[in-house]
């Protein structure tokens, strides 16, 4: 008898809990996987919290999944076992893979289906264009976007008798020669060399990186970075290396930034997202300027972006996508974009936010923050400067890095290295084409 009573009480108890939780209508979880760490993750969490507090229906759960590679792999593995998050942050080089994956819910469609009226014209076009499909529809929401610019050591410039940063590559050659002659150990260095010296160099000079409009028009694209201009540019850097006007520190950013911060090297070309680290660590007077261009280029094109965007993955119930869309719209609003830009240095993605910042006089206090925006928006993007759409792009960047290192080591000439980079990359592109059909 006692037993029965106990069972009854327990059953009722459990039932009561269920009913109570139903009555409270727990918010729907929206999973958001990202690769932001450190201060950027703090800002991101602030934005997520702001959204969660702004309404009660949805609860966005942001989880950091490691580096960009790791985050993308986590998303892929999750999709394969049907446990994918709603939103996945993927770096710009993964764009083509994501677009062709058949695993995504394009942001343009998502916003339309959920009744959000978005004026895509009010976005910064050079940022948006990287993630737009050939039919003109946006596939993923740009999140953290940056572009490379030039940082220079004003103290060393003064010592060398230079008044301002070099604007052309010819001036660059003269300036670095003077810098080295006046006691600087090295003239210039570069972080993310393939992104800055090949991808952005090509965009700025309106050169195609590959056929088929940088891959936008078809998978049967082939690299064209062994064109005379890029070859000449690389040859020049190699000769500068011999007399210390140029130094190669590493593929990524740690070595180059260390060389600049320590005052060993007078000029650094790096992403605008480096501004924070530079501000924190530099003891001398320094400034920022657009990347140099060739003297023959009277109206240089816009530079292109790097960073990552937010992809919405398929396979969740319809009502949850309403929450996803609301969240994305929230992220793109003026207040959030201003917060993101001020705290991380990444671009605001809407013109509204940018104009508001300008009107508030933000760029008078922080002129460094505007150098990148101005460089990126100075012209409307052309087919060569709207972005790059290559399959297996991370591998291709590796190939370009390896071949450039062969050039810096003196094992290959610029022409040989770039020819080899093209033929190796084309093999990778064909393989990608094959597995995408």
């Amino acid at each position: 008898m006692k037993h029965r009573q106990l069972t009854f009480v327990l059953t009722m108890g459990i039932l009561a809990i269920f009913l109570a939780s139903n009555a409270l209508a727990a918010p729907i979880d929206i999973q958001f996987w990202h690769a932001q760490r450190g201060p950027r993750a703090d800002t991101l969490n602030k934005m997520v919290d702001a959204f969660n507090k702004s309404q009660t229906q949805y609860l966005v759960v942001a989880s950091e999944k490691g580096s960009y590679d790791e985050t993308m792999n986590a998303g892929i593995a999750a999709f394969r076992s049907n446990k994918q998050p709603h939103i996945l942050q993927v770096y710009e080089v993964g764009t083509q893979t994501m677009m062709l994956s058949k695993a995504i819910y394009p942001v343009y469609d998502l916003m339309k289906d959920t009744g959000h009226k978005v004026d895509w014209k009010s976005y910064l076009q050079p940022v948006l264009s990287y993630y737009v499909a050939s039919n003109g529809e946006l596939q993923s929401l740009p999140f953290n976007s940056s572009t490379p610019i030039m940082f220079y050591n004003k103290d060393l410039f003064k010592k060398a008798g230079l008044t301002g940063p070099p604007r052309t590559w010819d001036e660059m050659g003269e300036a670095t020669a003077k810098l080295v002659a006046s006691g600087a150990e090295y003239g210039m260095t570069v972080a993310w060399q393939t992104w800055v010296m090949i991808e952005n160099y090509s965009a700025i000079h309106n050169l195609p990186l590959s056929t088929k409009a940088n891959g936008f028009d078809g998978l049967d694209t082939e690299l064209t970075i062994n064109n005379p201009m890029v070859v000449k540019h690389m040859e020049r850097l190699k000769t500068w290396m011999n007399d210390k006007r140029f130094t190669y520190e590493e593929r990524e950013y740690k070595g180059p930034e260390a060389a600049f911060i320590s005052g060993k090297c007078a000029i650094l070309m790096d992403s605008i997202s480096a501004i924070g680290a530079l501000k924190k660590n530099i003891k001398f007077d320094w400034g920022a300027a657009p990347l140099p261009v060739e003297a023959s280029m009277k109206d240089p094109q816009n530079s292109i972006i790097g960073g990552a965007s937010l992809w919405v993955l398929k396979g969740h119930p319809k009502n949850e996508y309403q929450g996803v869309a609301d969240f994305l719209a929230f992220l793109a609003n003026e207040e959030m974009q201003i917060l993101w830009h001020k705290e991380t240095g990444y671009f605001p993605i809407t013109l509204q936010a940018y104009n508001k910042l300008k009107a508030d006089g933000y760029y008078n206090q922080e002129p460094l923050q505007e150098v990148g925006i101005l460089q990126m928006t100075r012209r409307d993007p052309t087919v060569n400067s709207r972005g790059i759409r290559l399959g297996s792009f991370p591998q291709i960047r590796d190939v370009m890095n390896e071949e450039l290192e062969m050039l810096w080591q003196g094992k290959k000439s610029a022409k040989q290295a770039l020819d080899e980079a093209v033929s190796r990359s084309n093999e990778i592109l064909r393989q990608f084409e094959k597995r995408s059909q």
Binding site: D69, E70, N73, I76, F79, R80, T97, L100, S101, K102, A103, Y248, E249, E250, R251, K254, G255, A258, A259, S262, K264, S392, P394, Q395, D398, N401, E402, E403, E405, M406, W408, Q409, K411, R424, I428, Q431, K434, R435, S436, Q437
Partner: protein, 296 residues
């Protein structure tokens, strides 16, 4: 002396090895079979479309010159690492074995580095030897005038990862060598000493042969270590660069699979790797083990 246990029931021994067998089946055979299966497929990363391509992934691999280069680098890297760490481990153990004072402390200190994860070992060595901010790199360049740049020079980079990998494994070798040295009867060495054999001769004629089982075991373990577990070091120090100079086979599996998302090729490479290591170990057992003297 072999000890043998007898079980009265027939199923008990099987029951006893069941947990271990299950672990091996789930964590080794199952993924290995998956890799084998995947190596015949060409699929997009999300697994939406998959084609069966027979041996296409393998022919593509072996017609690639860079893969052969990677195999060469792997063998050079592995044998150098194994040789360096075994030789140093033996030297240190032989010396520590003769230590008169604070034996226990010395040994404990020598074992410590083994507790360090490979990735951390890599980071530490990178900090010391990085051309831009490394303390040792700075002094080496300043005092000896040696041009040192592992970021750009392939040979320097390979040298750095070999040192970092070998250093971490010295402690492991040390533990086994010191145990081996202690099991050698003192009387043998004393008798030889009375007969007038020099320390070096005693080491060569008595100690080394009696250590041969340990040496053999460590050879197998060190080669396997250098093949597989040095991933963390390479990942933190060079990422396979510069110009592919430290792209070992394991690192290439990761690069092509996880960064390049070319799962078919990555799986084919792991199958090749598996075969290489099986063949290598079999060879060691067949030829080297004959020279090993096991004593009871």
């Amino acid at each position: 002396m072999l000890k043998r246990s007898y079980f009265s029931s027939t199923y008990l021994p099987y029951l006893l090895i069941l947990p271990q067998t299950l672990v091996i089946l789930t964590f080794f055979y199952w993924p290995a079979t998956q890799a084998l299966f995947q190596s015949f497929l060409l699929s997009d990363p999300f697994g939406v479309k998959t084609q069966f391509v027979w041996l296409d992934n393998f022919t593509r691999l072996f017609s690639n010159q860079l893969y052969w280069k990677s195999i060469g680098i792997t063998f050079f890297f592995s044998f150098s690492t194994a040789l360096l760490s075994i030789a140093t481990g033996l030297l240190v153990a032989a010396m520590a074995n003769r230590a008169l004072h604070a034996k226990a402390i010395i040994r404990t200190l020598l074992v410590w580095p083994y507790a360090i994860a490979p990735a951390i070992s890599g980071i530490v060595w990178l900090f010391l030897f990085h051309p831009s901010f490394g303390v040792i790199a700075f002094s080496v360049m300043r005092w000896f005038g040696i041009h040192w740049n592992p970021v750009l020079d392939g040979a320097d980079a390979l040298f750095l990862v070999i040192i970092a990998s070998a250093w971490k494994q010295i402690s492991y070798n040390f533990v086994f060598f010191i145990a081996g040295l202690q099991s050698i009867p003192k009387s043998l060495i004393e008798a030889a000493a009375i007969d007038g054999a020099s320390p070096l001769r005693r080491f060569r004629v008595i100690t080394l042969p009696l250590l041969s089982p340990t040496l053999f075991f460590l050879m197998v373990m060190n080669v396997v270590y250098a093949f597989f577990e040095t991933f963390g070091i390479i990942h933190t120090v060079t990422q396979g660069g510069p110009g592919g100079a430290t792209m070992t086979m394991v690192y290439k599996v990761y690069k092509d699979g996880f960064v390049g998302l070319d799962l078919g090729s990555s799986a084919a490479q792991s199958v090749v790797l598996m075969i290489v290591i099986v063949v290598l170990t079999a060879l060691q057992f067949k030829y080297v083990e004959k020279k090993v003297q096991y004593t009871g």
